[in-house]
Symmetry: C2
Subunit: 230 residues, 2 copies
Amino acid sequence: MVYFVNLMVDFIVYRVDNRLMRTYGQHCGLAEALDLVGDRWTLLILRELLIRERCRYTDIKAALPRIATNLLASRLRELERHDLLAREDDPPPVATALYRLTPLGLALEPAILALGQWGARHLAPADKAVMQPHWLVLPLKIFVRDADPAQSRASIELQTGGEKIALSVGGGRHTVRLGAAENPAATVAAKPKVILKLFSGGMSLAAAKAAGLRIDGNADVLRRMLPKTA
Amino acid sequence: MVYFVNLMVDFIVYRVDNRLMRTYGQHCGLAEALDLVGDRWTLLILRELLIRERCRYTDIKAALPRIATNLLASRLRELERHDLLAREDDPPPVATALYRLTPLGLALEPAILALGQWGARHLAPADKAVMQPHWLVLPLKIFVRDADPAQSRASIELQTGGEKIALSVGGGRHTVRLGAAENPAATVAAKPKVILKLFSGGMSLAAAKAAGLRIDGNADVLRRMLPKTA
DNA sequence: CGGCATCCTCTTTGATACTG
DNA sequence: CAGTATCAAAGAGGATGCCG
């Protein structure tokens, strides 16, 4: 399938899917990472799988406005070939393929979070860019902390922009997951922008309430997750 | 200069350098980061500036075999425009332009290290890829630790593949810098591969010596910087 | 030389249409 | 739903030329 074609001195090219795959040809971690995930759209595809854990083709396409469908198909094939994701052909009832990250793909999380944190520092405000609420999961993975690790495990559910996000802390760990929480101590509803400013420390809880945030349940668990500065 | 052209609903394009600049048009940290540094070669250019601190055009070009010269010039212009790097036109004597990272560009270090660390996990061994010894600075930034932070500041100099790398620890910080060290407690010479395995914990100091590593000076400072597992 | 700009070819991407 | 096929446009790679 993959065979090497040595075109010139120190220049290696792979032939994949009947077309050439470029490589930087540098023995350097960054260059080799970019050989695998440096193509356009690739990291955004992995972002979706990181957030949703398992997606259908259409889920990914919907989250990536304007990606060409052939390009998405090609990227998914490449990523599967390189073992960053796996395709589960679901059992007969509903014959829809599901994609999920492999351990190798999941291991990209720190890099994706770091890049996202850097890029978020100058998110142009109020431009025409599309904002999908489930993307909040990434910054929340960065900002959620447990102010009282000794206390028992507790969770809350965020409701924002039509999505639900489950946050839980305790036992020295914290998790952020898209989807409804089980037995949340509180349910918190607010606009995405308010959630983000609240958890990033740029807005106090009082200010967030004034901006429309609503808490249903025990507010202490929410406070426990917020940065100290808030 | 930069003006917006709204081609279609929710699709934004900038015109730069008399050519279109693509954007994902997503209000998401990762997407906005990739809008700025997602183009081919861009992160590798930033890697060079991260390692060398200040480079001439030719230094970067030499470290990036096969980059087209017009492409490098274009990328540098873009990065300067977005304030990731700055061009210093040196004083009259030698009228050579120097490039260095701005604080915004330097802030990419964690993301570049994280990506590099991920990519390094399956560096194909013994392939035709080019290896430049100064690239060792990146993994060393990850692996160097101070086993005894209470002790006073000390530094060593690595000599490998014709390059010198200064490592220093103490005061709760550690630095890795390309170039000769000032008053190093020891000078360590070895092949790049040996250095990397030694600091990543994959090879003991004894094994490294057997593989040709030579220490001139106080070996304790070197031991202090190695991971415990070694 | 160092630092690009131009020109040309080839590859990748984007948009759309179509299929099992 | 989950892609494949097709084709035009944009981008990358390589050679060369220009200018201080």
